[in-house]
């Protein structure tokens, strides 16, 4: 599935991958892929600009470390990022409940 399909949801999904703790870029991409059952398999290189954008927006915080002799940048949610993730989850629950009510295979109420 391409990034365009995720437009509007990518920020929330990236934030969700950090809910359990800090991750580096490739781990975030892998969390997206495995967490979606392989459906959200973005080109890895395109995840990094999205992370930089979230960092500039103050939703995540990046920090450098050295792991196995190479520089690694890991990201963690900020307080604003946690609030935004919570908002995104609430919005998604409302939206998905409404869509399920309309598209779910249930009989429609009879028109009066």
């Amino acid at each position: 599935m391409r990034a365009e399909v995720l437009k509007g949801h990518l920020d929330g999904l990236l934030l969700a991958t950090l809910a359990e703790g800090p991750r580096h870029g490739y781990a975030i991409k892998e969390a997206l892929r495995t967490g979606s059952g392989g459906r959200f398999d973005l080109p890895t290189g395109t995840v990094y600009p999205a992370l930089h954008r979230l960092e500039r927006a103050g939703l995540i915080h990046g920090s450098w470390s050295t792991v196995n002799g190479r520089r690694r940048r890991s990201y963690a949610l900020t307080a604003a990022g946690r609030r935004t993730l919570s908002d995104e989850r609430s919005s998604w629950r409302e939206f998905s409940a409404a869509v399920t009510a309309l598209l779910g295979e249930r009989p429609w109420p009879a028109a009066t």
């Binding site: 990034a3 490739y26 080109p43 290189g45 395109t46 500039r56 927006a57 190479r70």
Partner: protein, 230 residues
């Protein structure tokens, strides 16, 4: 497999070539290029090690990791809006810092020499002074828009060119203001044989000349990045 360095020089070269192909397309300062390269390299090597962990030989794992990252043009293009926003913000913050400083140098030059605006007079070349006010009136909102759309509100901005356009307007307005002030002071000095305290005038003119150069270059850079995004 974590922690294993590339033992195969062909794999090492392939990773280096890929990173060079991506970053060659990025119009960023050297420090930012190094940071992006380091971050991508770590991700590539993680991907490579993951493929090796699934049983691939190093050459296959390298090819798979590079394929997984996406072609260099796609990755570089994905960085475009972000780098544009960073450039626009840098220009805006630079203008916000230098604006008051340059303004103070001119106020000092005018005050020390009791030039016409200090006597509440707009005569001769000073008649052009309102043009500086117009430029500043344009620059203020443009700077506010740039800072707002490249900070916390950036998630809600879906036109990547907007901050670059606003930053360009602000930079060009600064150029217009500076050129106007330089023109005024040159014209006034040439047509009036008063004795001046030159030091603050030269300092103000130098500050404006520097900002004309820097802001003009920044505007051109913003426009180039903007053109690449459209």
């Amino acid at each position: 497999m974590a922690g294993r360095n590339l033992s195969d020089s062909a794999s090492s070269d392939a990773v280096a070539d890929y990173l060079a192909a991506v970053t060659a397309k990025l119009a960023v300062p050297a420090a930012a290029r190094v940071a992006i390269t380091d971050e991508l390299r770590d991700g590539l090597l993680e991907a490579l090690e993951a493929h090796q962990g699934r049983g691939c030989a190093q050459a296959q794992a390298t090819a798979a990791a590079i394929a997984e990252f996406g072609d260099p043009a796609t990755v570089a293009a994905a960085f475009g809006p972000e780098l544009g926003a960073v450039q626009a913000r840098r220009v805006a913050l630079g203008l916000l810092v230098t604006g008051p400083l340059v303004g103070l140098t001119w106020i000092a030059a005018v005050a020390v020499n009791a030039l016409p605006p200090w006597r509440h007079q707009l005569i001769g070349p000073w008649l052009a002074l309102p043009l500086v006010g117009v430029a500043l009136a344009l620059a203020g909102p443009a700077l506010a828009l740039t800072v707002a759309t490249t900070g916390r509100l950036s998630r809600f901005v879906h036109r990547a060119t907007l901050p670059l356009t606003a930053a360009t307007v602000a930079a060009l307005a600064a150029v217009v203001a500076d050129l106007t002030l330089l023109g005024i002071i040159t014209g006034y000095a040439l047509t009036n044989s008063e004795s001046y305290v030159w030091a603050p005038v030269v300092f103000a003119a130098g500050a404006s000349l520097t900002r004309v150069t820097v802001a003009g270059r920044a505007a051109r850079r913003c426009l180039a990045i903007r053109a690449a995004l459209t």
